[in-house]
């Protein structure tokens, strides 16, 4: 299991790559701008130069940003494929969104509402659909988000690598109860999960 790449790492890598470059760019452009405004203020530099363009410079700042942008695209696309390629041995859970709660159905028929229990280090695939309007399942800790649309089956997967509680929320606006459509993913040890899944449904 340990050789499986958690897409969280890919998403974060893509994010840090883009935002890191952006900070450098933003500081550079702002500093240069402020420097020019102070250095070439009219009282100090009353006679402007007549420069209308520079082919070398203009070509450079078309091509260099293009390469950087393409690198950003590739990093984003790698992260996206990580989020889309579900490992074969993933545990499947059906998810039905409705106004305004989330229903989860396990393979053995066990149902829960607004909470799921998953075993540690097991990839989990969520098969998502909606009973009414569009909702969207968002689990920030696993960088997972997918719309729940009636009549369409969408999916997402994640790999829980630490026990604990992780919250999820609805992120597609669905009406008055939109902000209340939150819940918890609880990651427990395999033994604890096996025990829990065999328990009789209390409802």
């Amino acid at each position: 299991m340990n050789d499986m790449i958690n897409p969280v790492a890919l998403v974060d890598r893509s994010f840090y790559f883009i935002i890191g470059f952006s900070f450098v760019f933003l500081f550079a452009i702002t500093l240069v701008m402020i420097y020019f405004v102070i250095r070439y203020r009219r009282t100090r530099h009353p006679v402007p130069a007549d420069i209308r363009g520079n082919w070398v410079l203009e070509t450079a700042w078309v091509f260099i940003p293009t390469f950087i942008a393409l690198a950003m695209f590739v990093s984003g696309w790698q992260a996206y494929t990580g989020l889309r390629n579900v490992p074969d041995d993933a545990m499947e859970i059906d998810v039905i969104a409705q106004s305004f709660s989330w229903i989860f159905i396990y393979a053995n028929g066990k149902e829960t509402e607004n909470e799921i229990l998953v075993p540690l280090n097991t990839p989990v695939k969520l098969n998502v659909t909606s009973a009414d309007v569009i909702h969207s399942l968002f689990i920030p800790a696993f960088r997972v988000k997918v719309d729940a649309v009636k009549g369409i089956n969408t999916y997402a997967w994640f790999l829980p690598e630490k026990t604990g509680q992780y919250f999820f929320q609805c992120t597609e606006f669905c009406g008055v109860g939109h902000a209340d459509m939150t819940g918890v993913v609880e990651v427990v040890s395999k033994e604890e999960f096996d025990e829990w899944i065999q328990e009789d449904d209390e409802w």
């Binding site: 897409p7 893509s14 994010f15 883009i18 935002i19 952006s22 760019f25 933003l26 452009i29 701008m33 020019f36 405004v37 070439y40 203020r41 009219r42 009353p46 006679v47 402007p48 130069a49 007549d50 420069i51 209308r52 363009g53 520079n54 203009e58 078309v62 293009t66 942008a69 950003m72 695209f73 984003g76 696309w77 992260a79 996206y80 494929t81 990580g82 989020l83 009414d132 309007v133 569009i134 969207s136 968002f138 920030p140 988000k145 997918v146 719309d147 009636k150 009549g151 369409i152 969408t154 919250f167 929320q169 609805c170 992120t171 606006f173 009406g175 008055v176 939109h178 902000a179 209340d180």
Partner: protein, 544 residues
Amino acid sequence: MEVVKSFFETPEPARFTGIWSWLFTLDHKRIGLMYLYAIMFWFLVAVLLGGILRLELMFPGETVLSADLYNSAFTLHGVIMIFLFIIPALPAVFGNFFLPIHIGTDDVYFPKLNLLSWYLYMAGGVVAIFSLFSDGFADTGWTFYVPFSISTNTNVSTAVFAAFILGFSSMLTGLNFITTVHKMRDKAMGWLQIPLFTWSLYATAWVQLLATPVVTITLVLVMMERFFNVGLFDPARGGDPILYQHLFWMYSHPAVYIMILPGMGVISEIIPVFARKSIFGYKAIVASSLAIAIAGSLVWAHHMYTSGMSDTAVFVFSLLTFVVAIPSAIKVFSWVATLYKGAIQMTPPLFLSLCFIYLFSVGGLTGLVLGAAGANIHVHDTHFVVAHFHFTMFGGTGFAFFAALHYWWPKMFGRMYDFTKAYIAAILVTGGFMFHYVPMFILGLQGMPRRYYDYLPQYAGGNFFAGFGALFMILGIGLMMANLFASLRKKRDMESNPWGGVTLEWTIPSPPPLHNFVQKPKIMVYPYDFSGIVDTPANKSEGA
């Protein structure tokens, strides 16, 4: 300057006087000013609505607004800001006023159509108000996503109808600008002698004309679905909700370029004037405007990575999104390069333009995070997106609108506002802006979704700070508007060229006479040649 009556004293048609000389006017300048007053009104309404939304979010739990009021309020805020402020702001006010002057003519090609588009704009606004007093304003967000917009009980139909009417207003303005630039341009002015603001309006006008019909048709289809139960988008009736999203964004993404392109045009006018130096890379800026208009029409589905569309579509739209980032970057580089070795005079319009460059850069760069497929999944529909589009739309178009107001105010009204108050207001708005929206980036990364009136306790800190930022921003906007309008009580004594500009509006009196040009305009070979500019009295007294 010889005594020439301004357009304020000479109504067109001449038989109307008083209020009628405005309501029936065919003068592009008066129509521009009528847009200005209406647009300012809606802008201030939507700003206050935004303030109330932020007040609700300052503390967790329900405080000033209930969930359904909050939902209607953010929908109203979005609909007003998008359809009644940002889309028309620059083209309808400054485009109407200055496009004909920039190309050396006396009016737009279809003056009556121009007046009609103002009435359509007003009608759209009235319908929006009307819906408030019927079944409550729509609570769907300005995106009207189906099937929610079909099943909700609030008055979606009226809100959609308002957007429908406003679409026609926008299309007519676009049509008018395209024909005017083609047919009425001064004979001596070639395509590469057109000022950049007018170029940006021309590129925008094509998008307005070609993309707006898509949303107009889509909104008609939504109404048909609501009234006649035709199953187009609602899966319960055999429709496809993803189809709606495609159609909606096919307009609404190009629409963000309708919003930002004229703003970029304004900045391209202001920076050379106060640097007293030619714009750097005129042709590159023209080309990038056209590239944005074309490529920007092909990236709409980057709003839909999580929607359930195919992975192939995600690949294509993500790639194209990065392509469209390049022309915007070219413009930023060109503006900064224009400052190099200029003779820079700090004024409120230049200060606001520099704020624009900074804020728009932040908006553009965070757009790269959103364009990247994998990174987008995490931040999509969170406060990160809210912060991003406010940086581009408000920090971008909004600040360009402020800069344009300060730049062209003396030309339009013949009066100068107070500089000190203008700077204080600009600093308040910019500082408040940063304080307001930067915490939202962090909230979004922590996972706070947008359109939540209540939130999990871990988001309390960021929302609390953002509320203070909003307060400073609103105070700044209030001061800015008060300062501008206070100048109207002064005597009208502005000379024709207070800043030392070289485009044609600075060769005619302030405010301009009815037919704009007293003598036949002299077209320069190169539109940004500052070699003939000498220090004007206003520069000496206000500058340095």
